[in-house]
């Protein structure tokens, strides 16, 4: 059907998810009604997933520039400078709704998607990470989802041969019918060989590389990822066909072929973009928009998986393992030769034109003629204004507040905390991910505070890279701004614990329905929080992802998830040989606590302990732990300099569960469990605070006794307090006198058993 004859009207527009005002806007910019296929394309382009229409106004406030940033948000991935010649490409992306509908494939294709983003830039992927949220794991449903997601990630990442070295898993009721699956990938490249989507010129050939186009994933971006998500059987079945199916072997071949094309034929590539959400629609429109050109595509030339596919299916299919490349005319055969060597199909499906419109034909009819500039941006969404009143997190309670009683059974509490899903050993999970492939792993899961890889070159033979993801949604639920500052500080500190200077971040935003005041406020506050930290740490945001409409059904009504924003921070290490593990290494060594000064609260606010043991105490629910961003920077200086001088034997951030939990975890060395002995009788604080209190700016370090003076000197220089809190012992007991004492093996059991039984 040709454009002139079509009259489809408002009802079909509704079916693709357009609002009445969006429909009016569309008709007015086109000066006619769209054809059926055009409407399908607009439906997906203007979906939340592709257009960021409800979050854009907040995200554009993020600080995205710094000395080390080579490419900020807007491309397939962000880029930071590693050294004079090389750059790191990285990004985090979500695959939440697909993973709830089909855990294995949803998570697997999430990994596939993020890896394509990385190698599309010209980088060879070197590491993966995953950041997951589930409902409480005591139901079979959640256990099934967890197992499905973990094996999906393992299946794809392991087959691709990219090591998975880091991640985070929390559970909360708010994720019960809306789990979160965010995946991170990082790649290494030559800075001069960057490939972008804004460099195509008119008169070049448009090629499709990789897998054939099938009917899978149609409407994935618009109706699965960008809409309220109802759980009922008929719909879930319908939603299943919108989840793509991944083939990691095909992607591995596509990756090798693409990287080889870039290496050998780089100058002949005009532009390149991976085909993820909204497949052919998004990739053709985005390359055209960014390069300020147009395209003429013949849909009959798209290699199809099955006969009889309709034009709109070809346009919307989210079949995986495909790339759109614009190459110089006459060079097509050279590309096809390399792609065929790797068993990948490649076909020319059209050409670029001067007129900035995307024109598509099918069976001889022109069915699409879209003026790119006019339709590329969704019209501004009608959203609630951000409220001017700010929630402000509080550290210290007024005298009038009734405080909960101090703890009585410390040992039992420690055992309990060690078994909490967010603290317990994730060994049965991370051992399913290949962590040694790539032959560059320095520290993998549960070996150090951040994942560390060797990334040496002839000029910098011992250089390394590190990354750490962080997010504490329980703090963000109290105050999103504070929650983000806390997460940024945690990632920054973790990098310093392995001797890495932080470079930049990527952020994975996951929130509820954006049409509510609360979510709009939270989006705005989170950006403020991230920016406050960037201003101090200098770690600009170079890429990211937003997933909205994450809601869980509780009883009859849907409740938004807690604002869950993962920040993954990437850092650089001058000499990986000096990087330290977070496990105790030798009996007889001293253990010191390095602490930023200023925390006067001396109460375990915002800690795992408070969440579990103060559940009923409404009066103290909204207090948060102490944090001082400037002091974090000073602590980092101490840590980096101590690494350079090799002062530490091991180094661990005091995280979830406070000091007692962190010390116990440091004793759980894979080769042998150490014991710990400390005399804490001189400390006058409440017992619950001493053992389980959490706040920013605390790091536990293991040193040789001979290095004591040097450590104190360094700490004093940066106004960081240093306290000797005990020693590592051969004897298998864990003693924090006079607070608690027991067998380290019992603690180890509690730590390994809880998740061990589920996975």
């Amino acid at each position: 059907m040709a454009i002139a004859e079509s009259k489809i009207g408002w009802r079909q527009a509704q079916a693709v998810g357009l609002s009445a005002s969006e429909w009016e806007h569309l008709v007015s910019v086109l000066e006619r009604e769209p054809s059926f296929e055009e409407l399908q394309m607009i439906g997906v382009m203007w979906s939340e997933h592709c257009s960021y229409k409800s979050s854009k106004r907040h995200l554009k406030r993020l600080i995205t520039k710094s000395e080390s940033v080579l490419q900020g948000p807007g491309e397939n991935a962000g880029l930071v400078r590693l050294d004079e010649k090389r750059a790191i490409a990285f990004k985090v992306e979500s695959h939440n709704h697909p993973s709830y509908v089909e855990a294995f494939q949803g998570a697997a294709t999430g990994v596939g998607g993020i890896l394509r983003d990385i190698f599309t830039m010209g980088a060879r992927p070197i590491a993966l990470g995953n950041y997951l949220r589930f409902g409480p794991l005591n139901t079979r449903k959640q256990q099934h989802l967890l197992n499905g997601v973990v094996s999906g990630i393992a299946h794809y990442g392991n087959c691709m041969g990219i090591p998975t070295l880091g991640g985070q898993i929390h559970t909360d009721e708010c994720y019960e019918s809306n789990i979160l699956v965010n995946v991170f990938a990082m790649g290494l490249m030559t800075s001069k060989k960057v490939f972008l989507s804004n460099t195509a010129k008119p008169g070049q050939s448009v090629m499709l590389w990789g897998a054939r186009t099938g009917r899978d994933g149609i409407h994935g971006a618009s109706l699965l990822a960008s809409a309220d998500f109802e759980e009922n059987k008929t719909q879930t079945k319908e939603q299943k066909i919108r989840v793509q199916v991944g083939d990691p072997f095909k992607e591995k071949c596509l990756m090798e072929a693409t990287l080889e094309c870039m290496d050998k034929l780089g100058p002949k590539i005009g532009a390149i973009q991976d085909m993820g959400a909204a497949g052919l629609t998004c990739s053709t429109l985005e390359i055209s928009d960014k390069s300020k050109i147009g395209m003429k595509i013949n849909l009959n030339l798209v290699p199809m998986r099955e006969e009889g596919m309709e034009a709109f299916e070809l346009l919307l299919s989210e079949s995986q393992e495909r790339m759109l490349a614009v190459v110089e005319k006459g060079s097509e055969r050279e590309f096809i030769k390399i792609l065929e060597h790797w068993g990948c199909e490649a076909s020319v499906i059209g050409e670029t034109i001067l007129e900035p419109s995307v024109k598509m034909s099918f069976n001889g009819d022109q069915i699409v003629n879209l003026p790119v500039e006019k339709i590329i941006d969704a019209p501004p969404a009608d959203l609630p204004e951000v409220s001017s009143e700010k929630i402000s997190a509080r550290f210290s309670p007024e005298d009038s507040i009734q405080l909960p009683e101090d703890i009585r059974d410390e040992w039992k509490a420690l055992l309990y905390l060690l078994g909490l899903p967010r603290i317990a050993s994730k060994r049965n999970i991370f051992e399913q991910y290949d962590s040694s492939v790539g032959a560059s792993t320095i520290f993998g899961p549960d070996q150090a505070e951040a994942a560390v890889l060797w990334a040496g070159s002839p000029e910098h033979p011992h250089m390394g890279v590190a990354y750490k993801g962080a997010c504490d949604e329980s703090l963000s639920a109290i105050d999103p701004n504070f929650g983000m500052q806390y997460a940024m500080a945690e990632a920054y500190r973790a990098l310093a614990c392995v001797g890495a200077e932080a470079l930049a971040i990527t952020d994975g935003v996951n929130m509820g329905n954006p049409h509510t005041q609360k979510v709009q406020d939270a989006l705005s506050d989170c950006v403020d929080g991230i920016n406050s930290a960037i201003e101090v740490f200098g770690t600009a945001c170079v890429s990211g992802n937003v997933s909205l409409y994450n809601q869980t059904l509780i009883g009859d009504h849907k409740r938004d998830i807690k604002p869950t924003v993962f920040v993954v921070m990437v850092g650089k290490i001058e000499d990986v040989r000096k990087s330290k593990s977070n496990k105790f290494q030798e009996a007889g060594n001293e253990v010191w606590l390095l602490e930023v000064p200023g925390s006067t609260q001396a109460l375990p606010f915002g800690s795992a302990y408070a969440r579990e043991f103060w559940r009923e105490q409404e009066s103290v629910k909204n207090f948060v732990p102490f944090l001082d961003l400037q002091a974090e920077k000073h602590l980092k200086e101490v840590l980096i300099q101590a690494h350079e001088k090799n002062l530490f034997v091991s180094c661990r951030d005091v995280g979830d569960g406070g000091l007692a939990v962190s010390l116990a975890e440091a004793c759980f060395n894979q080769n042998e469990c150490f014991g710990f002995e400390g005399d804490w009788s001189k400390y006058q604080n409440r017992r619950d605070y001493l053992l389980f209190g959490e706040h920013g700016g605390r790091v536990v370090v293991e040193i040789k006794p001979a290095n004591r003076a040097e450590l104190i000197k360094h700490a004093m220089k940066w106004k960081i307090e240093a306290k000797r809190i005990g020693s590592i012992t051969k004897e298998k007991s864990f003693r924090l006198r006079p607070l608690l004492s027991g067998n380290i093996q019992d603690l180890y059991q509690a730590w390994t058993r809880s998740l061990g039984e589920i996975i």
Binding site: S151, A154, N158, C159, M160, G161, D247, P248, F249, K250, K252, C253, E256, W342, G343, F430, E431, Q432, Y433, D434, S435, S436, V437, G438, A439, S440, T441, I442, F443, W454, G456, H462, G464, V576, R577, S581, Q670
Partner: protein, 221 residues
């Protein structure tokens, strides 16, 4: 100058790891060989068949790769003096090709396992282990789902149980991590652990380095 080669299939993913590990050995030249050509008969001292998922391993690990022209020519190359080391998927391919006996089943826990394992040398296996290496322990990473090695009858005269795990992670027969066969002027060594992934001196554990160095020295002697 010794000539070593890494045999590459679509889906190999430790090919670059093996290549880099071998390239760091002094006086060794390394070629990357694509599976679609027969291997030149007397050209290589060592041929590495790397880990990965050759051809996606959708049928059975290694079942398609064994049909390649390169694998078809491997036996001749070994008889002429090449020493083949098949790591992980490479071991699977050697078993599928019937160049080594036995099969690899799914791990006893049914899951993929990635961790460091201590492995002990059990026999002399030229050029990899000398007599004085017997009893020596290496720390190598494993990363596999099909690593549960089962064999009915290991004919000791020709097949040697070269390497065993200290803590059998996958249910392998007699904790076997690798087996060795002398053949003609060459040999075949198949193993599940990945020495090539711990072959950089900046890594906290780097036991792979010595394996390659010693092999190269013994070949030169």
């Amino acid at each position: 100058m010794q000539s070593w080669a890494v045999l590459q299939f679509p889906g190999s993913n430790s090919d670059h790891d093996a290549f880099r590990a071998a390239s760091r050995v002094p006086n060794v030249r390394v070629d990357m060989l694509w599976h679609d050509q027969p291997i030149e008969k007397s050209k290589y001292d060592v041929i590495m068949i790397p880990g990965g998922f050759s051809f996606g391993d959708y049928l059975r690990a290694g079942a398609i790769a064994k049909l390649s022209p390169a694998m078809g020519s491997l036996l001749e190359a070994v008889e002429a003096g090449a020493h083949v080391i098949g790591i992980c998927n490479g071991f699977q391919i050697l078993l599928e090709s019937r160049l080594l006996p036995g099969i690899l089943q799914v791990n006893k826990g049914l899951k993929f396992i990635s961790r460091m394992e201590e492995c002990e040398v059990k026999t002399e296996a030229f050029p990899w282990f000398a007599k004085e290496d017997i009893g020596r322990k290496f720390r190598f990473p494993i990363a596999h789902r099909f690593g549960n090695y089962q064999v009915k009858d290991l004919d000791r005269s020709e097949m040697q149980p070269a390497l065993v795990y200290q803590n059998n992670p996958n249910g392998s027969f007699q904790s076997l991590a690798g087996i060795y066969r002398k053949l003609g002027k060459g040999s075949l060594f198949g193993l599940m652990p990945h020495p090539e992934r711990v072959s950089h001196s900046d890594q906290p554990a780097h036991d792979g380095i010595d394996l390659w160095l010693q092999a190269s020295k013994r070949l030169a002697a």
